[in-house]
Chain length 401, copies 2
């Protein structure tokens, strides 16, 4: 802790160290100061310590104090030391507003989330904050809730506050209109796409993620792989399915069940679809699910038919939504979109843009795989007698559980 912010310090206007002494109650040249302020506070007027106060206590001019504190310009070590001490004593905190006004850089960025702290925007925001917060950048939070009016309101206030840049996050979906055009600051879209050709958008690579899931299942020896996923109207569903099908085709395999089963992003649908799939293609030995909720429903459905996950049917989900994936029985192998990393990258791209390094287009960031029980390679068949044999499956139509 470099500073302490006690507002009411005891020591004032006594010059620290030696050199030109200035006594406490000198009348300030500027005509401002504590004179009229009976209250023993080390500040002029507004109650916060200013650099003038520091300078006066150190017995130097404000300009010199500024240079000393910022390490700019040739200031003697002795003076620097005195100024630093004075600043510490008074609990000086530079006024970022004044600095920003002067330098034209506020060192702030706006973060507009269209998704109101949704499951996808949160990790993105977190990643962005990771990259910005610990540095000198502060982040303005704006929750536009997919409302263009709100969005414009926030955009306006952000620009009024002279942010140096803006990040827009969403829940992906279809490309969206740019948040504004001809803006005086750079904008990066994360987990959402702008239709503006000059804009930079960062999204996860769903197709690669789908391929990753299926590739993994293939590598563990599964060959009759089905796919249960969300609504067809979602680009995410389609891309993941394409990725999955491409990976299968590469090995000369077709998708079990005849193709992806499109439905809802719910456990309920996961159960239903899996149930149907196990009926229509009883030899299915793996299901790649479009998200973790579907996968969890699938796990329940598989178990309900007396089969085991992963030995009879392996499962892979998508999202790595921890609370779902780890509560699944068994814990779920799943594709992680690395959203936090995506947010971090967005922030870095924004910083680059602020420094003049622009980029444009849609960048797809790779997904990765999180391995858990649900796709564990099969146990040696000796341990599970009969289950790998040909012929009708050894389980009854539907036991009590």
């Amino acid at each position: 802790m470099k500073h302490c912010w006690h507002r009411f310090s005891q020591v004032f206007f006594a010059v620290i160290g030696s050199g030109r002494e200035t006594t406490a109650n000198t009348v300030e040249p500027q005509g401002r100061g504590v004179a009229a302020d009976g209250n023993a506070r080390g500040s002029s007027g507004r109650g916060q310590v200013t650099i003038t106060d520091v300078a006066r206590l150190a017995g130097v001019s404000p300009g010199t104090a500024s240079k000393a504190l910022n390490g700019r310009g040739g200031i003697s070590p002795d003076t620097t030391q005195r100024v630093r001490q004075a600043a510490d004593r008074l609990g000086y905190q530079p006024n970022a507003l004044a600095r920003g006004l002067l330098t034209g850089r506020s060192c702030t960025v706006g973060l507009i989330t269209t998704d109101s702290f949704g499951r996808f925007s949160i990790p993105v925001m977190q990643g962005a904050e990771d990259a910005l917060g610990p540095g000198s950048m502060s982040v303005f939070l704006c929750d536009s809730r997919d409302d263009r009016i709100r969005e414009q309101h926030y955009l306006r206030t952000l620009l009024e506050r002279r942010v140096d840049g803006i990040i827009v996050t969403g829940r992906r979906q279809d490309p969206r209109e740019p948040v504004g055009s001809g803006l005086p600051v750079p904008v990066v879209y994360a987990m959402t796409q702008s239709t503006g050709p000059a804009d930079l958008s960062l999204v996860p690579d769903d197709m690669q993620g789908g391929g990753l899931a299926v590739g993994h299942l293939l590598s563990t020896g599964r060959t009759r792989i089905g796919h249960v996923t969300g609504p067809l109207r979602f680009a995410a569903s389609r891309l993941r399915a394409h990725g999955a099908e491409a990976a299968l085709a590469e090995t000369g395999l077709a998708m079990a069940g005849g193709g992806p089963l499109y439905g809802e992003w719910t456990e309920e649908w996961g159960r239903q679809a899996t149930d149907a799939l196990l009926r229509s293609a009883p030899d299915v030995d793996a299901i790649f699910c479009g998200n973790d909720q579907i996968a969890r429903g699938a796990a329940d459905a598989v178990r309900d038919t007396g089969r085991s996950v992963p030995d009879d049917v392996a499962l892979v989900g998508f999202d790595n939504w921890e609370v779902i994936a780890t509560a699944c029985r068994p814990p779920l192998t799943t594709v992680d979109m690395n959203l936090r990393e995506l947010g971090r990258t967005a922030a870095e791209r924004l910083l680059a843009a602020i420094n003049g390094q622009f980029a444009a287009g849609v960048q797809r960031l790779p997904c990765s795989l999180v391995l858990r029980e649900s796709s564990r390679p099969r146990q040696p068949s000796a341990l599970r007698p009969g289950l790998l044999a040909d012929g009708p499956p050894p389980w009854p139509a539907r036991p009590a559980d």
Copy 2:
């Protein structure tokens, strides 16, 4: 949309309307302006339009323009109109930094989350943003991740940015040290408690929530009510249990199973404990669970013994974590801590404090109940033959599972 922010407007320095005409390339009295700026932008120097630009275009002084735009001081309707038009044309946006510097109010607040976008802090943040964002207050987001070093870093930058106040959110738990002492701005703690006696902390009323859950179960006719909850070391566990026990005692009942079963906040524990409870007290007709995950585990365990939820055993959870509560089979009745409301309240209290209305102490905000299937009143016994009869329960000790 009142404004548009195209930076490069076409029309400049042609006085709008009638009255003192000023032509485009007048040399500005201040010596600044577009003269040296070949680029057709309606600004001086920094690339953003200033009030001086607006004033010049409207043919008035900056002071007058300011008053006109802010509706302060007696300005003729005609002039006001002209200034407004000029501002619109140029896409003028007041510089909030400059305004804040002058007025001493930045119209920003800091939001420090110690819980890194956790399940509890998110709705609180959302509520705070609800109350602040749409107004003139902007929110700085700071993710301290329970790290005091980070927290102090953020505190410092917030104070440097001259925020008007600070909200600190957490995941409740034990009281925490104040974020700082003698701070120049008010602080409100939400979903976390400060040990500072002069600080204001807002937390949900867990005891009342526990009472609410049990009261509801009693009102639906259940009398043999058990309680499965999280670790004993959590104040939340203890308070909820107390509330539940008090509600039971009021009706002269004791808790089924002999008392609360403390464990973990997981589905796994919910299953285990419920299993044990159903064995030790087979006539249990309701379980109040310390959170939704435990409740979901309980639902699975109840079902696994061949009993039905809610007809044989009713369930109530805690948290109203939608994804869990609605995916539960059947959907879960649960206690909602109204965290968003809590966040909103925190923001309102902060605004009050900024305006001089201080408060202190720990305020507990009421929880409410969200009714779903899992605690539906029993069906008439005719529809469920035998289940309400006396004697040994109709289900076997415990099927395979």
